[in-house]
């Protein structure tokens, strides 16, 4: 017996659009069964995780808070993914972005002015791009696999955060706890932009999603990126150099991750501590794939994943499932969506018997 995947000649647009929904439904069904088998109220757990955050308006700001950084980072990653430049180090670039903002904050803590916050954000963006730069350089100069180099730098970034927050950047008035001094009002973003309780990062994410969409679909830059990814040899003939694509996509994804990081700290928390790394950089990779490398898809995927986080916490108080629940559901969702994605593009053929038997038949 052989299992083969054949490319479908025609891609059904309906299937392409519906398959993620199908995958989420599968996740809900399988998830409910698994939890019921383990002794919890399976159907209610699913309800709390997926529906409560959507149907309860007071939960929307929480979903937005989680979705904004995911979308921002994933947008940056998508550009790279299209060029087949795999940036796995977004988590590290996210941390550097936060550190960049924190550094400026510490320097300006006794100053006032509307220029402080933009400076912090610029510093965060630059720091994120800076952390991505070695990865691009190593790949262009030495052919080093960017998956591995960017991943390694994540752990270096974690140690850097650790060191700064427990040492030189520790709040002198913080009772010796490992955290930076809280940001002054000049250093924080408004919480109620446009009168809505959503973090400013959300609006930035939406705006940038639109921008990325335009750039990727209509600009020469976007075209170049895609050509480099899909047909590297043709790209070279057409004058698009892979090394340029590597630089630009890595720097942009680093910058986006850095932006997410600095926005996260200037929004509500207003300081950095050891609990800051939350895995957004890795989850954003998943968001990028769930969104099928398309900016609008990423917005949706980011929201879906945020819902699962928020729902997971709700489910803890109401159905008393353990906190590992959210992770399980996310993993299941990813498995089903990846599977459905493949099955939409390719047809699964199971051949029984030997090749000669099939030929005879």
């Amino acid at each position: 017996m052989r299992i083969r995947l054949e490319k479908r000649r025609e891609l059904s647009r309906v299937m392409l659009a519906l398959s993620p929904i199908g995958a989420v439904v599968m996740t809900m069904i399988v998830g409910a069964i698994i939890f019921a088998a383990l002794g919890y109220d399976g159907p209610r757990a699913v309800m709390e995780i997926f529906f409560t955050p959507v149907l309860a308006p007071y939960k929307w700001p929480d979903v937005a808070t989680k979705a904004a950084p995911l979308i921002l980072i994933a947008l940056g990653l998508t550009l790279g993914n299209q060029a087949k430049v795999w940036n796995i180090g977004a988590e590290g670039q996210y941390l550097l972005g936060a550190l960049g903002g924190a550094g400026v904050a510490i320097l300006t803590k006794d100053m006032h002015g509307p220029w402080i916050l933009p400076l912090m954000i610029v510093a965060g963006v630059a720091a994120g791009a800076l952390w991505a730069a070695p990865v691009a350089w190593l790949r262009n100069r030495y052919g080093v696999n960017e998956i591995l180099s960017s991943l390694m730098l994540v752990y270096v970034a974690l140690q850097l955060l650790n060191y700064l927050v427990t040492g030189p950047w520790k709040d002198p008035n913080g009772q010796n706890f490992p955290q930076t001094a809280p940001y002054t009002p000049d250093q924080k973003l408004p919480a109620d932009l446009f009168g809505l309780p959503f973090p400013p990062g959300l609006y930035v994410a939406f705006a940038l999603a639109l921008a990325f969409w335009l750039v990727m679909a209509r600009s020469e830059f976007g075209l170049g990126v895609r050509i480099v990814g899909e047909a590297p040899k043709a790209a070279r003939y057409a004058g698009y150099r892979e090394s340029d694509a590597v630089w630009s996509t890595m720097l942009i994804s680093g910058a986006m991750a850095g932006l997410a990081g600095v926005l996260e700290t200037t929004t509500q928390s207003g300081q950095l501590n050891l609990g800051f790394p939350s895995g957004y950089g890795f989850t954003a990779i998943i968001v990028s794939f769930l969104g099928r490398l398309h900016p609008l898809g990423i917005v949706l995927a980011g929201i879906v994943l945020a819902i699962s986080y928020v729902g997971g916490q709700v489910a803890q108080t109401t159905v008393h499932v353990p906190s590992a629940t959210a992770g399980l559901f996310q993993a299941m969702m990813l498995f089903f969506i990846l599977a459905s994605d493949v099955l939409v593009r390719r047809r699964l053929r199971i051949e029984w018997g030997s090749r000669t038997a099939a030929a005879r038949a």
Partner: protein, 329 residues
């Protein structure tokens, strides 16, 4: 009974041997997981899910070993074989969890990075879920099976003082090295990793070979996880592997995908981490501890660059690493 003072020379020998045992403890799980991942990557697959598979193995091994130590069965053969069964269960759990990744990445050709990350999340979640009923329980550590009398003599301690899993790890590194370089099957595996299309055209089943290597990697990661829950700290706690899976990934890179260097690299890391502890305990800290903690990863990046530079533009990673293989029908 306490620590006995020897003469000056005797005490330092004791100290060195004791420190060596700590080094072995720190290194073994990383070595096991890295050896497995080495094979996986040599066949052209990048499985980032090591941490998740280790945790699955840790809880499976602990659960089985604990069940076998239950007073009702402790006197039967089950009780005696308990720890060994635990290791087998851990390998099975690791391999089973790797199949999830295998199905996604190999059969369906989905992106390996995303699939691997999903495996980490899944493994962490499912082990935590299953493990909730095993918290606060202690079992006997799966220690050396050699007679206690051997431990009296320093040489005896160095050679015979370890859990069977340690010897297994040494054996496997050697076996993997021999397999990859000296057997035909190993050659096929490497070919699949370097040029999958050619291998396919010769008639080898690329997907089949990769499934086997992925499962092998899973089994090794599972046993590595069991080392945590059955040897180092015979208990279960959520996320108890604390990121060692990622160090194993770094180690594979650091080793340049060569088994011999893997062994050396693993022990280098282990020695490093142990020395850091000794320095702290003795009051030395000339560089912040985070610097030392970041070293393995920094060094991996440097090694990557150096290796690739020597190869004049090409890196030494298996050429097909991370690329899905989908033969056009």
């Amino acid at each position: 009974m306490g620590f006995s003072h020897g003469g000056g020379k005797g005490m330092s020998l004791d100290l060195i041997i004791a420190a060596l045992l700590t080094v072995v403890n720190i290194t073994t799980p990383i070595l096991l997981a890295a050896t497995g991942e080495l094979v996986v990557e040599k066949s052209g697959v990048l499985n980032l899910g090591v941490e998740g598979m280790m945790l699955c193995g840790a809880i499976a091994g602990f659960a089985v070993a604990f069940s076998c130590s239950d007073p009702d069965v402790a006197d039967t053969w089950l009780g005696l074989a308990g720890p060994w069964l635990g290791v087998v269960a851990a390998a099975a759990a690791g391999a089973a969890s790797s199949l999830l990744f295998g199905f996604m990445a190999l059969t369906l050709g989905a992106n390996q990075v995303a699939s691997g990350l999903a495996l980490v999340i899944f493994g962490t979640g499912i082990s935590s879920l299953i493990g909730t009923s095993f918290v606060g329980i202690a079992i006997q550590p799966f220690d050396s099976v050699f007679p206690e009398s051997l431990a009296e003599h320093p040489i005896g301690r160095v050679l015979f003082g370890y859990s069977p899993i340690v010897y297994f790890a040494f054996f496997m590194v050697a076996a993997v090295g021999w397999f990859l370089n000296k057997t035909r099957a190993g050659l096929v595996l490497r070919a699949v990793g370097e040029n999958d299309l050619s291998a396919h055209s010769i008639g080898y089943s690329v997907i089949g070979v990769r499934y086997m290597s992925v499962m092998f990697g899973g089994a090794m990661a599972g046993i590595a996880g069991a080392y945590f829950s059955m040897v180092i700290t015979p208990l279960w706690a959520e996320r108890m592997t604390a990121g060692r899976g990622w160090i194993a990934l770094a180690l594979v890179v650091f080793s340049g995908w060569r088994a011999g260097r893997l062994l050396g690299g693993a022990y280098f890391f282990g020695l490093f981490m142990t020395l850091e502890l000794y320095a702290k305990a003795s009051g030395f800290s000339f560089l912040p501890s985070q610097f030392w903690a970041a070293m393995p990863y920094l060094m991996a990046v440097i090694v990557l660059a150096v290796m690739s530079a020597r190869n004049k533009g090409g890196s030494q990673s298996p050429a097909c690493l991370g690329k899905p293989f989908i033969p056009d029908a």
